[in-house]
Symmetry: C2
Subunit: 160 residues, 2 copies
């Protein structure tokens, strides 16, 4: 199957790893995964700092290589919410809980353009140890690490 | 993976077959599929007549047997939009374009109850030869057959 998935992936955390792993599982042997990675310009709209595209791409490729996923993959620059999803022929879109609305929009536009709709796979977020989502914002705030472990808050008294 | 899917499945058409086939593919070897089949009472709210539960169940089981899917499966009665999806531990819900809203509702309620959210896989509808969805209503109206082939309208002059 030909699967598309997108994101900024910085820092790469367990929620991202789950999204990527499921995309490869869904594509299956002989399948193809296209990963849309936001450009620095597009990602720059986020409220937190983002590492440059080549660094984020390298981290993503390292995770994929270590995981030994078999389907062929391509990392392409994502300049807007849709990327090449409105132009290309593929089968399924993998999204997180946050990115379901653009996926529904992609299908609406594809339909208007006379293209086939694609399946949408919404992968539920991975929870941190405190039961809330793992997110890049929380990691950058120093609340949790990339696996969702809680970190002692900076400046908080250590009550050992 | 443990997958849940639900429906009335009457008459069983290519859209349903795709939904079921993808549920089994997603469950994978060693996985489990639970198919919630609407009870006659619950399905009775539809605007078109529905065959009795045992007949619908038999048609579903025949399709599964013929397809040779390997994961273990159970057909359970579905008495409302949620079935056992609010009670049981499973991994993914497979829905059609029409049944995405109850799936999102299921995750909301699961979260409120302190249960883990599940992945939601929305399988796009199969289109009939005229480019519109295959649906039970259209089949029962005599517009299309279960594979989406257009049927000559009853009472229409045959222009051979």
């Amino acid at each position: 199957m030909r699967v598309m998935v997108g994101g900024t992936f910085d820092p790469l955390h367990d929620g991202h790893r789950r999204l990527i792993a499921r995309s490869f599982a869904l594509a299956g042997k002989g399948g193809e995964v296209t990963i849309g990675l936001t450009t620095d310009d597009f990602a720059g709209r986020k409220t937190h700092p983002v590492r440059p595209f080549p660094e984020r791409k390298a981290a993503l490729e390292e995770f994929i290589r270590e995981s030994g996923f078999s389907p062929h993959f391509t990392v392409e620059p994502l300049v807007d919410r849709f990327g090449s999803a409105l132009e290309t022929d593929f089968d399924a879109l993998v999204v997180s809980e946050e990115t379901l609305p653009p996926a529904i929009e992609i299908n609406r536009i594809r339909r208007e353009k006379g293209m086939k709709k694609v399946d949408i796979h919404q992968i539920s977020c991975v929870l941190a140890k405190d039961g809330r989502w793992i997110s890049s914002t929380r990691i950058l705030r120093g609340e949790i690490d990339e696996h969702g472990n809680l970190l002692p808050l900076a400046g908080e008294p250590d009550d050992r």
